[in-house]
Structure formats: structure tokens, C-alpha cells
């Protein structure tokens, strides 16, 4: 059996090319990888780790260790070939050994003169001549010349062109990520013109879904997500940036502009809003708001992420390896790392941020209409504010204060004590001030007395139960108290068996880090709750009025509020019991009261409006006014002023104040509705950047300024060394890496593997290109066409290489399992998002809307909740979308980094915590379970079946044709049709016996069931459709 290594060599076709004198040995392809992988760690660029003073990563260094032409006189060869394992290099402690072939290669290389070249990727690509070919007919464009030349060298022949159906399906997935419709297939198949294929290419390149398709891998590179990622991992909005990327591809923005705007759009002269949005590329990294985290530590992480991501995406350079010490393989000094870092170390940001939405700096993006409304509101608010300026109302306000002070408590409406059955001040004693009942008896919970703005209150910080007494609640009564709800679990506030149950339901997050719950009031036969949530930890005056005539009313802060009537649970049936705060035991449903309560009053009559107003509004005045003016905190002064404006001032002023409050409320709502997106924004004075010893944020070394690694061309002379200069440097024609790295990734999208397999690493530890000349030709072509992205895609997909069939023979699979030689087209599974998009598309469920806020497709409950922190933060609870948002494309699925979309993860989607250049392509049983059982796919199968049954009527073979065509684009052959017809018949027989099962199956998903279709047939065909959607062919790009 062949070893893995020897197989690789065989594929590269090396042994056949090597002559004994070392001719045919290419240093960069054959020798450098051996030295780099096995020797550089101790004999490479890192001075601090260099052993015995020998370095093999430079020509001079290597020459000192060998004699060209004479391996036997070369220390390098003698040591790697040493007969004594203890003396042989690399030493056993490294865990590395050279194979016999590798030792032989080194021997031959030295024998042949030990030719030395700079690592290939650091040399500017030169446009190669097109190679001459024996077969003059096959090539359609330059790509094919290079591919075929290599095949001819390897004595292989290219495969035939794929059939049209396969070709269009391949092309559609590659350019839009969506399958062709049967009509599109028909058009192409019937088109006899010479340019039939090119017409399809142009059609697809012009599709709005082209931008989506191109954006998908870019989102992996940019580590795009909808949450901040660290710890609390709450919501962020970067979708305006994501939509910018889609637009940029659709508008065919040249790659150099695409680069400059994303890296430094904010620094362009007169930067437009779009260019600023684009600069968000480097704000996509994770951001922390863990309480207790140290800001300086995270500032360094953000900058490091930007610098490393930028190096990976544009240069496939493993910059991160030089963070703690000089790079062990590539010529990057630790200092180079921090000079690169310095470009990104001047953003006006905080180390800890992102607690409530986006982190600074961000850009608000009002629509034209929103801006108009905003301007209008601002103007009106300003006018009202000046009308109500304190200097204008102060004399009257102070006058009132004096008058009120003289009155103090005595402004209570006459008769306020009439009908007062019991009054508990809740000042920590539980005494009943009416004297009619016994004092409250605390059975559970530890009451403490606290001062509040309404005077003393009792705080129960754990679930409580305090019995007040057997207070009879007759036909007419009122209960009033100040309440603060202090815990998110549902809890009983007040309860009297047989009469009354007042409780909070579970509190839920509200915007701006608040939580709130509804207040419920149940009486025999009646259950009301507030329509809106009352904010947790805020103090409310709550009054419940019960009258024989009018039923139950809830007043909050003296005002009637909207209520919702709910089904009575019956908890208040039965004998009247004692009135109590909280409840005896915590149950699954509810806990005892936790929070604050003050001035609890029970009346045997309905309170009047003016009494309610007094209790809720005026009642607190004495407490506020009793503080001498000079000792008043700012907040208290403000509250008094507001009280005056709302309740005391002349009617006209009160109206103006009411208007101002309403305007402010409207502005707050508008502000919430205006999207924003994080952007780059420079500090006035950039931070100093230092080399960080061992990469530790606390350990400052030498101070450095922004610059680029010496092995690459210098920054433009005279330019200010900032991000803009860096971006322009990357797309300068002299730069050896950018164009190669970009075209290589495009290649990877189409063929599964790049010409350089290690598309994330073009350094010495990366893989050598399979077709170096082709890579350089494409890179120079990209530059020559002024970085025309669509033209590059067009070039690749119109090549004969791309148009080959992906059918392999056992011999070819064995010879070239990875398809590096391209004697066929690669065949591989669709990426995670596309597996789902395809099922939605063929069933007709797909919502093709482009861009916008991210959505929440079906996901089993608990995936987020089991791991998230919860509390007041956003993106802690998964709330499924409704309606057509359920069927948006996978790329719009809300990406929570600590719990990414579960069914996409199963298909190898990354968590987006870091830049990802290549996804794995695995094949697992969990994928099978997802495609078979996830409601997304069952619903898609059912809707597909529904459409097919409607269209085909009762003819089973027609149904089959339609369904098969929708899923695969083609017509099934006899054997396939037979397998599926038999399945359909068997499933029909099953569901004929199991009507309930049939109904259950077709009821999955939100899409309504077509009631006109027979349930049995629909269920059976749903399963046939499931089998179709599970076929390898259905989820594979062939």
C-alpha cells in the first residue's frame, strides 16, 4: 500500500521528471518545503531560537552549510543522511523526520549545484508565455493552455464537456448559489447558437444573486457575524456592511477599489457614506463586554485581529506567527508584526464595549425619509425646550414650592381615609396603621427597610410570603401600593384565595438593557393584564379598583392603562382566605414576591380619580420637598421640575410639556428604528504602538511606527503611513501577493482546491502551486483588466477546464484523487448555506429578497438559551421569524458566534470568530439526520410535493418527472424512476393505513397545507421528495 507522502509525490509526477544530476528539481517546489517544514524552526528566521548559528532560510546561510555540486562534502546533506539516528537531523525531539525520498532530493539538489531562489510568492508575478500544445482544439482560453500543457506532460487527456443540464446547474450554483429552474434548463438545452453557454454566463453574472454568492466566502474571510462573540455575545448590526459587499459585487466594483474602501474607506478624501460603511470590514472582529475584563488587553486583541485578518485575506501571510517572536519560517520579524499592527492601532474605540448594540465608533444610517422626520422632530423639540427653559418657569415654580411646603402633608383630599380598611406603610415593621387588623406577619423572606423617593419601603430580596390578615374584600374595593419588581421570574404580589390574585409574569428583555413584565390581576371570573410590560426595577404606583358595577380596573401611576383580557385560570375560585404578599412556596409556575413595596392601602370602596392622582402623584411631593433646596440632588430637582410642569403649571405650559415628552418619545423610537453599522474612524492622536514582548499587552518593548515587512516592496514614498497608504500598497502592481491570493481563492470556489492548496498561506510553509504559470498568468490578467472581478469569473467559467465533466474513472481517482491536475471537473458537496437554499428553491419556498436585517429560521428550542447568559442582554433568546422571513437564504441567518446556526454548523459553516479561508467539507451522520428530520427540509419536501401534485394531477409518472427535474434539473432514467415509483406506492399503502400519521407529517412547517390534495398522497409524496432532496446528487455540485 502506498504511504500518504509517496502518493503525493506520485501525483506531483516528480520521480518521472527527476534526473540524477538534479535537473528538473525546482528549489521552491521541491526543496524549500522540506527545509521549511523540518529545519527552519531551529535554523530559520527567528534569531532567538537559531541553533549552532546555522540558518537555512537564506541563500548565504544555506551556502555556508553545503558545497554546491558535492553532497558528500556538505554538512547539510551529511547530517540529514547521518547513519546514527541520534546525530541525524532533524533531532528526534522535534518529532520530525525526513523520508528517504526527501533525503534523496536534497542530495540531488546539492549535486545539481544547489540552485537557490527567493520564495516564489515574494517575487512579483511575471506574465508567462502560453505553452505550446499538441492538442490544438481543446483550449477555449488561456487557462486551458496551462492546464492542458500539464496534462499532456502527465500523459493524461481532459474529460469531455459536461452535458448541458449538469453544466447549467454547476454554473448556477457557482455564480448565484441557486439551482436553475426547469425553464432555464430548457432554454439552455434548446439554444443551438454558438454562444449559448456564454449567454447563460452573462445572465447569471447579471443576477442580483451573483453578489450574494460572491459575498458568502467573503463573509467567512471578514469574520462577519450578528453578535459580538465574547462572553455575553449580544447583538450587533453589521448587515449594512454585508449589504455593501453584495452591492459591490453586483456593481462589479474593481478589486482594487473593493480593497481600498474596505480597508480605508473612511480615510478617502470626502469619504461617502458608502465608503465609510465599507470600512466596517475591520470592525467585524469580536468585541468584549465581560464585566471585569481589562480594557487594555482587549484593545490589543482587536488590533491584532485586524492586522492578522488583513494579512491573511490580502496576502495569505501568517502574520500571527510573529506576534510573540520572529516568524519561524517566513522573513517576518516580530517588529514587522507590530509595525503592521500600528496601522490599525488608531481607531477611536474602547477596550470594553458592545453592551447595548454596536460598539463605538459607529455610523447611523437614516433613510431620506427618516432624516426628514428626524430633522423635523429635532427642530420641534428644540423649540419646546426653549419655551420651557428653566429660567422662564423658575419664578412660578419656586412660588409653588413655597406654597406647597407650607401645606406639606395636609393637601390630602378630604375623606381619603374614608373606607380605608387597612394601611401598611411597609416601613420595615409591617404595622397596620388603620389599627383594624393585626400587623403583617412575615413567614418567608427577609424584609429590610429602604428609603425610596416615596419614603420608606420594604425590600424583599428573596422570595417572600407576608400574611396581612383576613381582610374581607367585598364587592367594591380598592388596593393601592408602590411596587418595584426585582426579579425576572414570575411572582405573586398579592393574593387572597377566593378573591384576588395579583402577579407579575416572567420578565423579558426590552430594548436598551431593560427587562419588563406584565402585571396580572385575577378576580373570580376575570383576568386582566397590562398590555405593555412594566419595567423591572422601576417604581410604579399600582391601584386595583373593583366595583360591582364596573368590574376590575388597573391604574398605573394614577392613570388608566391599556389592558388585555385573558382567560381566567380559576385560581380565585373557592373560599376567601387571608390576604398576603407573595406566596408560601415557590412553584414551577410562580415564586413569592421579590422586590419593593410601600404604602399598601386597602379600601372598601372605589377610589376617586382625584384620590388616585393624589396617591400616585402628590403623595410623594412632601418627601421630595422636604429636602432643603441646597441639599437636593440634581435628579431630585429635575423630578420636582417635571412634577411642576406636568401637574401644576398653567394649562398651556402643561400642554407644552406634554407635547415635548411626546416628541422626545417619538424621537427615541425613531432613533431605535434607524440602523447603524460599525465603521473605522481615526483618533485625533493615534495611540503609540510598541513591540509587545511575548505578545503580552502589559509588556511594552521598543516603540514602532506603521510600516510593511522588508521582504515586500516599500510603501509609496512620501505617503503618510496610514491605512489608506497600506490599502493602496496592497493593490499596487508591484505587490507580489495580492492578485495571486485573490485569483487563487476564486479558483478554490470553483474547483474546491486552489492552485495553491493552502489558500490561507503563501509563505514557505504553504503548499507550492500546482500550476505556477497559470497562477501568475491569472494574477497578471487580473491586474491587466484593472481588477475586473466579473471578467475574472467569466474567464474561469468559460474555460474548457471548467466545462469538463466531473465523472471520474477509478484509474483517474487513484492517480489524482484531489483532482489537482484537472483532467476532470471537481465534484463536491454544496456549502452549508447552499444546501438549505437549494431545498428552499426547488420547493418554491425560497424568499429571494436580497439584503436587510438577519433572520431567524426554524431552530429547535434551547440551542441559544442553554448556553447564553440571558438577563437583560440582547441575542440571548432565539425568537423564530415568522412568515416569509423563515425562508430567506442561509447567508442571512442570524449568526450568533457562541451558538452559530445549528444546522449550518453541521455542514461545516464556521463560527465566524476568526477569519476562515477554507471550510472543511465533511460527510457525517449528523448531516444525514438534519436533511432527513429538520422541519426545514420536511416542509420543503412537502411543499415540493404539493406543487408537483397540483401541477401533475393524478399521473404518478408525471409527478415523478416533475419532482425529479426540479431537484436535479434532469429526467430520471428508467431504473431511477422505478425505484421512486415503488417507493411512492409503498408509502401510499402505509399512509392509507395511517391517516393520522399522514396528517401529522404534512402539518410540519408554517406553510399552509393545500387542503384540496388528498392527505395520503401528499404524505407519501412528501417522503418521495425527501428522498430526492437527500440524494447525493441533490446536494452536490457536479
Amino acid at each position: 500500500m502506498l504511504s500518504r507522502k509517496s502518493l503525493v509525490l506520485l501525483i506531483a509526477g516528480l520521480p518521472s521528471l527527476l534526473a540524477a544530476d538534479g535537473k528538473g528539481i525546482d528549489f521552491n517546489r521541491d526543496i524549500r518545503p522540506i527545509l521549511s517544514d523540518n529545519c527552519f524552526a531551529c535554523h530559520g528566521p527567528d534569531e532567538s531560537k537559531r541553533m549552532a548559528g546555522i540558518r537555512l532560510d537564506t541563500k548565504e546561510g544555506a551556502r555556508a552549510a553545503l558545497t554546491p555540486g558535492n553532497p558528500e562534502a556538505s554538512r547539510l546533506y551529511l547530517r540529514v543522511a547521518h547513519p546514527d539516528p541520534k546525530r541525524r537531523m532533524p533531532p528526534p525531539s522535534t518529532g520530525r523526520t525526513l523520508t528517504t525520498q526527501q533525503v534523496e532530493l536534497i542530495q540531488k539538489w546539492i549535486a545539481g549545484g544547489a540552485d537557490w531562489k527567493l520564495h516564489w510568492s515574494y517575487e512579483k508575478p511575471e506574465r508567462p508565455e502560453l505553452p505550446a500544445l499538441k492538442n490544438k482544439k481543446w483550449a477555449r482560453n488561456a487557462i486551458d493552455n496551462f492546464v492542458l500543457a500539464r496534462l499532456e506532460q502527465e500523459k493524461l487527456t481532459p474529460s469531455a464537456e459536461a452535458d448541458r443540464i449538469t453544466l447549467l446547474r454547476r454554473l448556477s450554483f457557482d455564480l448565484t448559489g441557486l439551482p436553475p429552474t426547469p425553464a432555464e434548463v430548457d432554454t439552455f438545452v434548446k439554444d443551438k447558437s454558438a454562444s449559448a453557454y456564454e449567454k447563460q454566463v452573462d445572465r447569471l453574472l447579471a443576477s442580483p444573486h451573483y453578489g450574494e454568492r460572491m459575498a458568502m466566502p467573503w463573509l467567512d474571510l471578514a469574520r462577519y457575524a450578528d453578535t459580538h462573540g465574547f462572553h455575553i455575545d449580544s447583538h450587533r448590526d453589521m448587515w449594512p456592511w454585508r449589504d455593501w459587499v453584495i452591492r459591490a459585487f453586483n456593481n462589479n466594483m474593481p478589486f482594487d477599489r473593493f480593497t481600498v474602501e474596505q480597508l480605508a474607506g473612511d480615510l478617502l478624501p470626502n469619504a461617502t457614506t458608502e465608503q465609510k460603511i465599507a470600512s466596517g470590514f475591520n470592525r467585524n472582529h469580536m468585541i468584549n463586554y465581560e464585566g471585569g475584563a481589562i480594557p487594555d488587553e482587549y484593545l490589543v486583541e482587536y488590533v491584532a485581529d485586524r492586522s492578522e485578518t488583513t494579512s491573511t485575506v490580502w496576502m495569505a501571510m501568517t502574520m500571527a506567527c510573529a506576534r510573540c517572536h520572529d516568524h519561524k519560517y517566513d522573513p517576518i520579524k516580530q517588529k514587522d508584526y507590530y509595525r503592521m499592527f500600528a496601522f490599525f492601532n488608531s481607531v477611536k474605540e474602547k477596550g470594553l464595549d458592545g453592551r447595548d448594540g454596536n460598539a463605538d465608533p459607529f455610523l447611523r444610517l437614516p433613510s431620506g425619509e427618516q432624516q426628514t422626520r428626524l430633522d423635523d422632530l429635532m427642530a420641534r423639540i428644540k423649540a419646546r425646550e426653549s419655551e420651557l427653559a428653566d429660567e422662564k418657569i423658575k419664578p412660578a415654580r419656586e412660588q409653588w414650592e413655597k406654597q406647597r411646603l407650607a401645606l406639606l402633608d395636609y393637601a390630602a383630599p378630604a375623606g381619603l381615609r374614608d373606607g380605608l380598611v387597612a394601611q401598611y406603610e411597609m416601613d420595615g415593621t409591617g404595622n397596620d396603621h388603620s389599627g383594624a387588623y393585626r400587623h403583617a406577619h412575615v413567614l418567608r423572606g427577609e424584609p429590610t427597610m429602604v428609603q425610596t423617593s416615596v419614603g420608606k419601603a420594604t425590600l424583599f430580596s428573596s422570595p417572600s410570603h407576608a400574611v396581612l390578615g383576613k381582610i374581607a374584600l367585598g364587592a367594591d374595593y380598592s388596593i393601592a401600593a408602590w411596587l418595584v419588581q426585582d426579579h425576572h421570574e414570575p411572582q405573586t404580589v398579592l393574593r387572597q384565595a377566593g378573591r384576588l390574585d395579583v402577579w407579575w409574569d416572567a420578565s423579558y428583555p426590552m430594548p436598551h438593557l431593560r427587562r419588563g413584565a406584565h402585571l396580572h390581576v385575577e378576580t373570580p371570573g376575570m383576568h386582566l393584564r397590562t398590555r405593555d410590560r412594566l419595567v423591572q426595577t422601576e417604581q410604579y404606583h399600582v391601584a386595583i379598583l373593583h366595583t360591582q358595577a364596573g368590574g376590575v380596573a388597573i391604574r398605573i401611576n394614577g392613570q388608566a392603562v391599556p389592558v388585555v383580557r385573558e382567560a381566567a385560570s380559576g385560581v380565585t375560585n373557592g373560599e376567601a382566605g387571608v390576604l398576603a404578599i407573595g406566596q408560601e412556596l415557590d412553584t414551577e409556575v410562580r415564586n413569592g414576591f421579590r422586590g419593593r413595596i410601600a404604602d399598601l392601602r386597602i379600601y372598601a370602596r372605589a377610589l376617586t380619580e382625584s384620590e388616585l392622582r393624589y396617591l400616585a402623584i402628590d403623595h410623594r411631593l412632601p418627601h421630595m420637598l422636604s429636602v432643603p433646596v441646597k441639599q437636593r440632588a440634581k435628579e431630585l430637582t429635575l423630578r420636582l421640575r417635571e412634577h411642576y410642569l406636568a401637574h401644576v403649571a398653567p394649562a398651556e405650559t402643561q400642554a407644552a410639556w406634554a407635547d415635548l415628552r411626546q416628541l422626545r418619545e417619538r424621537k427615541a423610537q425613531l432613533d431605535d428604528a434607524i440602523p447603524n453599522t460599525m465603521v473605522m474612524f481615526e483618533m485625533d492622536k493615534p495611540r503609540d504602538t510598541f513591540v509587545l514582548n511575548r505578545g503580552d499587552y502589559r509588556n511594552h518593548g521598543e516603540k514602532v511606527t506603521p510600516s510593511v515587512p522588508a521582504v515586500l516592496p516599500p510603501l509609496a514614498a512620501g505617503a503618510k503611513p496610514d491605512r489608506l497608504a497600506l490599502a493602496k500598497w496592497l493593490v499596487d502592481p508591484q505587490h507580489p501577493l495580492t492578485a495571486r491570493v485573490a485569483v487563487n481563492r476564486y479558483w478554490q470556489n470553483y474547483f474546491g482546491i486552489g492552485l495553491v492548496k493552502s489558500s490561507e498561506n503563501f509563505g514557505t510553509q504553504g503548499d507550492a502551486p500546482s500550476h505556477p504559470e497559470l497562477l501568475d498568468w491569472l494574477a497578471t490578467e487580473f491586474q491587466r483588466t484593472a481588477w475586473d472581478v466579473k471578467a475574472m469569473q467569466r474567464l474561469i467559467v468559460t474555460s474548457a477546464t471548467y466545462r469538463q465533466s466531473s465523472k471520474a474513472t477509478p484509474a483517474l481517482t487513484e492517480r489524482d484523487p484531489e483532482n489537482r491536475l484537472l483532467a476532470r471537473m471537481s465534484r463536491f458537496r454544496l456549502s452549508a448555506e447552499l444546501v438549505r437554499d437549494n431545498a428552499l428553491a426547488v420547493s418554491g419556498l425560497l424568499n429571494t429578497k436580497v439584503g436587510g436585517q438577519s433572520t431567524y429560521p426554524y431552530q429547535p428550542p434551547g440551542i441559544w438559551e442553554e448556553i447564553s447568559r440571558g438577563e437583560i442582554f440582547s441575542a440571548q433568546v432565539y425568537k423564530e421569524s415568522q412568515g416569509e422571513d423563515l425562508y430567506r437564504r442561509g447567508m442571512y441567518w442570524f449568526w450568533k458566534r457562541t451558538a452559530p446556526p445549528a444546522s449550518l454548523s453541521t455542514f461545516d459553516a464556521p463560527d465566524r470568530e476568526k477569519c476562515v479561508v477554507r471550510r472543511s467539507v465533511t460527510n457525517t451522520p449528523l448531516q444525514a439526520l438534519t436533511l432527513l428530520n429538520d422541519p426545514t427540509y420536511i416542509e420543503a419536501a412537502r411543499v415540493l410535493a404539493q406543487n408537483v401534485l397540483r401541477e401533475a394531477g393524478g399521473d404518478p409518472s408525471k409527478r415523478l418527472m416533475l419532482a425529479f427535474r426540479r431537484v436535479t434539473g434532469r429526467i430520471p432514467d428508467a431504473r431511477e424512476a422505478n425505484i421512486l415509483s415503488e417507493l411512492a406506492a409503498k408509502q401510499m399503502a402505509r399512509y392509507a393505513r395511517d391517516a393520522k400519521g399522514a396528517q401529522a407529517l404534512i402539518s410540519i412547517g408554517e406553510t399552509p397545507v393545500d387542503k384540496k390534495l388528498p392527505v395520503t398522497e401528499l404524505a407519501a409524496w412528501t417522503n418521495v421528495a425527501t428522498v430526492l432532496l437527500n440524494m447525493d446528487e441533490a446536494i452536490t455540485k457536479e
Binding site: 518529532g95 501568517t318 506567527c321 484531489e818 458537496r829 476568526k914 444525514a928 402505509r990 447525493d1032
Partner: protein, 478 residues
């Protein structure tokens, strides 16, 4: 079956995507050949004879207070309420939560300690069940970490790096050693549901993620409820026989495609569907506790009957390793006692003490403790100084990375053994420091893996769990 051809196909599969179909397809291949031998690991791994074949890691998320559980400091009573001396603190960094405090008064533990086992391990009254396993565990009182806050600390202990992006320890192990079961994932994650303690520390899927390893090495969450594995259950309306019919048709269609395309991935996919079908039977069998005898619930406590509790998950862990699962990673939240420690820690221990002890005893009575390694511990310890108000009955403790306690039990480590010592304040290690990377190296060592040799090349560098650090803690090895 042509064995050579199969191996070539397998090689093909691996080659194709580089980071391609491996562990699982190898398992599929093994089943194809009727071969039940371990499959899918790396060549040459284990590097030497393994003492442990599998691991159960009971991660106590939040940072249990070593001062109130294992690190007995009677002298602290004297210093209770007095300022932590500068000579002890030595200017070490502290979190943003207490850095603003004007004073750092020492808080002695309010709990009683007793010695247990032959080694005389001190344990507090909060963990009575642990006393019963004192002769089975190896207690390390001098573990230290680099991180001071939850996110980086838990990421560090689970992936060897404070920053996201590296593979988790479970994925490294399953990458290195492969799977021993064809019907369950080799790396399973259990999250215990909350008890009465306020447990606000989030977890992150990266903690069981595969990082840059092929993504099928990531841990599979086993959840309580209808679908312990995501989408395990057939949908309503599909019976087993009906499902089988569907799979047979699917297989026939896929076989046909394979004949035309000669793509080994198609064959792998067929195998994956068969494994999925098997899992649909094996997982419900796994999660069905009804056949466990009454003695099991005496051992683990009645809580173990309630799916998702810590006790139930400890029992589940035993059932998983019995069935050949390589790495069980359990998370138990709620150890982050910044305030209200005496009350909340007591509740937390009450919910977890018995389960952990029962697991060790259960494995022992089944003879499985010899080749199963159980690890218990949090991501850091807690400070001797009080966070918030110190009263006679109440105190809180902030995060403390400089020393904390972990224990291991079973395959490869000494039993009834303790090591490491801290100063009188449990603030600094005075003897035998053990770094997180050392813990990781030691765990791999017990599995027969040289932590410097289990590597994966990514971005041109050979990465390993312990980065460039870590020493096997020889003194704990049996």
C-alpha cells in the same frame, strides 16, 4: 470486499479535501469490513501505552472557591476582616470588578473542614460525598492559569489558548485517538440545566469546537428531551419501517450515481446514512434510564432521574463511556460567587457534590475507573479578599487565577494523593505549581499521547493543544 481498494478510496477521501472526511468515514469503513477496532485516529497514536482510554471532564464553570472547598486555611480566621497584605498580593492584577475597591479585607471560609481519606485531604462540609472518594482522587491544590476573566479563562482551559480559534481538548483527543464506537459521536458535550443558583455565566460553542481541525471533530451536544442529538427523531408521521423504505430507495439511487461518477464521497455518504439510522436506535437506548436499578439512583441521588440535572448528566457520562465514547465534556454553571457566597455556594455544592462522587464510585465498582480519567475543576479559583461587603455571615469572592484546586481520578493517576501548596492566604503557590498546559499535557499523557507530538498543520505551523508549553506532571502519575 476489496480491502486494498477500500483503503485507497479512504486515502482518496482524505486527500481530496485535505481537511476531509476522516474519523467518521474511517469508522464507516471499519464497520464495512466488520472491524470493530478503534478507528480514525492518527498514525502512531497513541505514542505509548495508554493508561486511560477515555475522559470525562466535569467542568465547573464560573470558578469554584478553593478556599471554601479544598484549600483549608485555618490561619485565616486570624486575618478575617484585615487587609490583604501587600507582601502577599505583590501588585498582581485584579479584575475590573474589584480593582475599584478601596480595601481588600480577607474573608476566612465560614465552613467547617474535615480531613478525609488516607491522605488526610481537607474538605469542607459542603462536599460530604467527596469525602467518600478521597482515596480515589488525586487532588492538585496548585493549579494556576493565565487568564483572569471567564471568557479567556474557560477558552484557555478548554483549548490551550485564551483567544478563540483553537481546537478544543475533546476534539484534539478524538482527532488523535479516533473513535471506539460506530454508533455514537466520539466527543459528546453535556450541559447541565440550572438549579436554584443564579448561574449567569454563558458558555460558548467554541469550547467544544474543532477550531482549525476538520469540523466533524467538534463535540456533539447531547441534550435532554426528544432530540438528544439534533434532529435525531424521525418526524411525526414517519415510522421506522417507512423510514427504512426511504433509506433503501435513497441508497439505491446513490449507488447508481456512484457507478457513473466513481466519487468515493458518494460511498461515504451512503455509510453516513446507515450510521444515522443506527444512531436513531442507539441514542434513545443511551438516554433511557428506566432500566437502571434502584441502586443507581441511591448512588447518584434522586436528581439523576430528572433529565438534564448535573446528577443525571454524571450518570449519562458513565453510560456514554460504557458505550465507547472517547471524550465526555460536561459543563456545570453557577460557581461564580462574587457575592452571597455562603448561601449560593452551599446550594451549588448540594446540586453537584453527590453526582460527581457517585460517578467516580460507579466507575470504580464497574472496573472502569482503571481506564477512564475523570477530571473535576473550574477555569480559575477565587480571591481570599472579599468582594463587596464583608459581614460575619456573608462575603463574596472575585476571580483568582493564581491558584485553585482540581482533581483527577482514574486511569493513569495516583489515588488518594494530593499535591501542591499555597500560602496562608491561598493567594500564591508555594510548592509544585501546575499550569493549565501541564494539566492538558498530563491528561494527554494518560491517554498515551505525547502532547508535543499530537499536532496539526494550520497556516503553515504545527499547532498543538499545549501551544509551545506544558509539562507532564509526573508526580501525579500512577
Amino acid at each position: 470486499m476489496n480491502w486494498k481498494r477500500e483503503m485507497q478510496l479512504l486515502e482518496t477521501r482524505r486527500q481530496f479535501f485535505g481537511k476531509g472526511a476522516r474519523g467518521v468515514s474511517v469508522a464507516a469503513l471499519a464497520s464495512l469490513m466488520g472491524n470493530a477496532a478503534p478507528a480514525g485516529g492518527q498514525p502512531g497514536v497513541p505514542h505509548f501505552a495508554a493508561k486511560a482510554k477515555r475522559v470525562i471532564w466535569l467542568h465547573q464553570s464560573g470558578g469554584p472557591s478553593q478556599l471554601d472547598l479544598f484549600d483549608y486555611k485555618p490561619q485565616l480566621k486570624k486575618y478575617h476582616g484585615s487587609e490583604l497584605p501587600g507582601s502577599i498580593r505583590m501588585g498582581q492584577r485584579i479584575t475590573g470588578m474589584t480593582s475599584g475597591q478601596s480595601s481588600f479585607p480577607c474573608a476566612a471560609s465560614i465552613f467547617k473542614f474535615e480531613q478525609a481519606g488516607k491522605a488526610g485531604m481537607w474538605m469542607s462540609e459542603l462536599i460530604p460525598h467527596h469525602k467518600k472518594i478521597a482515596d480515589d482522587i488525586c487532588l492538585i491544590k496548585s493549579v494556576h492559569t493565565d487568564a483572569i476573566n471567564h471568557d479567556p479563562a474557560i477558552t484557555f482551559i478548554q483549548t490551550g489558548s485564551q483567544q478563540p480559534g483553537r481546537p478544543s481538548i475533546g476534539s484534539w483527543v478524538s482527532y488523535g485517538l479516533g473513535s471506539e464506537t460506530q454508533e455514537l459521536p466520539s466527543f459528546v458535550v453535556l450541559l447541565s440545566q440550572q438549579n436554584s443558583v443564579r448561574a449567569d455565566q454563558p458558555l460558548f460553542s467554541r469550547l467544544w469546537g474543532a477550531g482549525f481541525l476538520p469540523s466533524h471533530y467538534q463535540g456533539v451536544r447531547l441534550r435532554s428531551g426528544k432530540d438528544p442529538v439534533l434532529y435525531l427523531a424521525d418526524p411525526a408521521g414517519i415510522e421506522r419501517e417507512g423510514r427504512r423504505e426511504m433509506l433503501d430507495a435513497l441508497q439505491a439511487l446513490n449507488r447508481k450515481r456512484e457507478e457513473a461518477y466513481h466519487d468515493p464521497e458518494i460511498d461515504t455518504r451512503i455509510q453516513q446514512y446507515e450510521m444515522a439510522y443506527k444512531m436513531q436506535a442507539s441514542v434513545p437506548d443511551l438516554t433511557d434510564f428506566s432500566k437502571e436499578p434502584a441502586s443507581t439512583f441511591e448512588l447518584y441521588g434522586e436528581d439523576a432521574r430528572k433529565p438534564g440535572t448535573y446528577a443525571a448528566n454524571c450518570l449519562m457520562a458513565r453510560r456514554l463511556v460504557e458505550r465507547g465514547v472517547r471524550f465526555v465534556q460536561l459543563y456545570h454553571k453557577g460557581w461564580d460567587q462574587h457575592g452571597n457566597l455562603p448561601q449560593d455556594l452551599a446550594l451549588q455544592c448540594k446540586a453537584s457534590d453527590q453526582g460527581a462522587a457517585a460517578l467516580v464510585r460507579d466507575l470504580k465498582q464497574r472496573g472502569m475507573l482503571d481506564d477512564t480519567l475523570v477530571v473535576w475543576g473550574g477555569e480559575f479559583g477565587r480571591t481570599v479578599y472579599c468582594q463587596g461587603k464583608l459581614t460575619d455571615t456573608d462575603y463574596g469572592r472575585d476571580h483568582h487565577p493564581r491558584n485553585f484546586c482540581m482533581w483527577m481520578a482514574g486511569g493513569g493517576v495516583k489515588r488518594g494523593f494530593q499535591m501542591g501548596e499555597t500560602d496562608d492566604y491561598s493567594y500564591n503557590i508555594v510548592r509544585d505549581p501546575v499550569h493549565i498546559h501541564d494539566i492538558q499535557a498530563t491528561l494527554l499523557h494518560c491517554l498515551g499521547v505525547d502532547h508535543t507530538k499530537l499536532t496539526y498543520k494550520f497556516q503553515g505551523r504545527w499547532f498543538r493543544l499545549t501551544d509551545v508549553h506544558g509539562n507532564v506532571v509526573k508526580s501525579v502519575l500512577a
